[in-house]
Symmetry: C2
Subunit: 415 residues, 2 copies
Amino acid sequence: MIQRPRGTRDFLPDEMEKRRFYENTLRHTAKTFGFREIATPIFEESELFILRSGPNVLNELYAFKDKGDREIALRPEMTAPAIRMFVNEMSNDPKPIKIFYFGQCFRYERPQSGRYREFFQFGAELIGNANAYTDAEVIAMASSMIEALGLKEYKIRIGHIGVLRQKITEAGVPAERMAEVLQKLDKKLYDEARPLMQEMGVSESVIDSIFDLTETVGDSSVLSKVPGEAGDHLRQIVEILNAMGINDLEIDLGVVRGLDYYTGMVFEAEAPSLGAEKQICGGGSYTLSELFGGEKVFSTGFAIGFDRILLAMEKEGQTYQPEGIAAYVVPVTDDVRVKSSEIVASLRRAGISADIDLMGRKMQKAMKYASSAGVKYTVIVGPKELEEGCVTVRDMSTGEQQTVKVDELLSAIRN
Amino acid sequence: MIQRPRGTRDFLPDEMEKRRFYENTLRHTAKTFGFREIATPIFEESELFILRSGPNVLNELYAFKDKGDREIALRPEMTAPAIRMFVNEMSNDPKPIKIFYFGQCFRYERPQSGRYREFFQFGAELIGNANAYTDAEVIAMASSMIEALGLKEYKIRIGHIGVLRQKITEAGVPAERMAEVLQKLDKKLYDEARPLMQEMGVSESVIDSIFDLTETVGDSSVLSKVPGEAGDHLRQIVEILNAMGINDLEIDLGVVRGLDYYTGMVFEAEAPSLGAEKQICGGGSYTLSELFGGEKVFSTGFAIGFDRILLAMEKEGQTYQPEGIAAYVVPVTDDVRVKSSEIVASLRRAGISADIDLMGRKMQKAMKYASSAGVKYTVIVGPKELEEGCVTVRDMSTGEQQTVKVDELLSAIRN
């Protein structure tokens, strides 16, 4: 038996209906924020992802040569493709450009709970400006999306990569080794960060103060400890978000994000119910377009891990009820089958989801099937009733039956 | 500048909104027919596609080895994955199983008008039975989808592969060479089919009668020329489709379909506006599950070329009008910006698509932007009006302005 590839999933009807429902919840929320959907190809030149994330990304890429000997890769994320598209095709559009996207990404890694080789991301980018309002706009949208999905327990943590970068620079860490240090701090690997900085000649006390900074966590009152422009910027973001009705924020200067291209505000959202792999959303302000051959343009964006956030909702006990079929038409005898096809077609034309027995089931089996398939009304087409232009409608939830004229069937089912 | 890979596309906001709209039209129609959506991975073991289509498919596949040395391929179509999924996970579900799917497929070939290396298909499979009713159900759904999309000029041609196969078998063509002959006839390559059959010892007159059969085209009256069960079957399909209100059908025994696994009824839909590449839909009844290690189960399915049908609609002059933004909030001065953020957030929470100036535009520029962005109402937040709890609402289509209380803004915009 041929199996699907490891780390991938099939989505069966109930699961898929749920996923589309929540996908559309995200889409609707993005639209209320004035963001518009775009789509980019499933694969890109490998170079694109290397430029964004560094050559190490190759270890996790599904990269291959196409028949024209081009180095291509299945996308591991969609920010780089979105910005590539902006550079190629939207760079002259009026700013800000507010775009979002939803789709599959691919990462070759060991499959584990909530992590797949083919996974789904929702992401958004606000391109063209960077100020407290653009940052707040993006955080507000991420927050509204999580709310719209109905997740109860989650936390949004906002930091500023500039504060940490400045402190590390002042400590004497050379610019070209900044990324190394930040990556350790991103993962809270203090035991590895300390010898690394010692080796660069940073004193114990300065290292301690850097660690302290990454442990600066709390409500907006901790911003009093954050000096200069970065502090002002974060205070302003919080003020705007509060005005937008978003109050439940945590300031956390330990939010580092692993990538070089972030320039200022960075944020993450996490769902504690997920345990160790609790991050459901991450983003910040950045510039990336200049790496792909465009002009340097300030942007702010984020991505939501769709699989993980669905898992978090599930862990909280949230369930989705499939819509089911409104009507199921059962011909009692073979000679009313063609007429039954006519009836089911008229329901469908009216926009009603309607099925018809195609297996030649006898009445009892057909009713049993209707119960198990979540049918709301069974329409029984019998030869005698039909002679008088009637059919029998059975409400599957109450068991009540009524005989109605065929041309009044629509209203009987719609009420 | 990094470009997207050849034969792939980026979808910008207007195009993407249109595509999602029509994608949802197809989805809605499928639901009214009681079909439910599924999804399978973007890539599968290459073997899956070879089993379905033969080893020649490798020439057009994006096939590669993953880091675990598995032979995988980007899906060139979705029938094989859907049936693989059925065999793996749904084979014990009550029949018929009615599923549909929508997504990207990949084919490495020379890009040309309406054909891309990454293209989009909508498809459906009815699994578990094969009779005139299941065949009619599937053709009716394909027809209803084309209608729902609003395509005006199209033709559905229905044939029966069994008629032709029987005739070719009777002519003495060995079973193992049947596919060769059918492939030539599928493409109407009579000049190549003739010597091929001559070489197999088929006489001129029998060859002529086979060609004649593939040229048997017309309304249902031509079915009088089709003998036996196949003729009865097609007559019954036409009767059921007529009862379902689908009358505009052509019988065409020259509909061959290139693949071995079709067992009976085959059908295609074409849009003449597309010229040479006019096929927009194809399908038929088949068995495939036994090739993938499951039990043999009769199915009927079809696929619609989403890119091609959109192209056909475009050629007919059909246009899609993007929804635009309902409200655009413009702060007149910097000190009303935070309050403006509060206002835009309240609109969004009410489900209204609302944008806010994030570029610090002056009034005149902001109004110009609002016009070009398809905004319906501009909400002007001025410090004086705000002191009295008011804002100015401008209807961008009429130019009319009114001053409204902030807490009455919602109804002013909704009316």
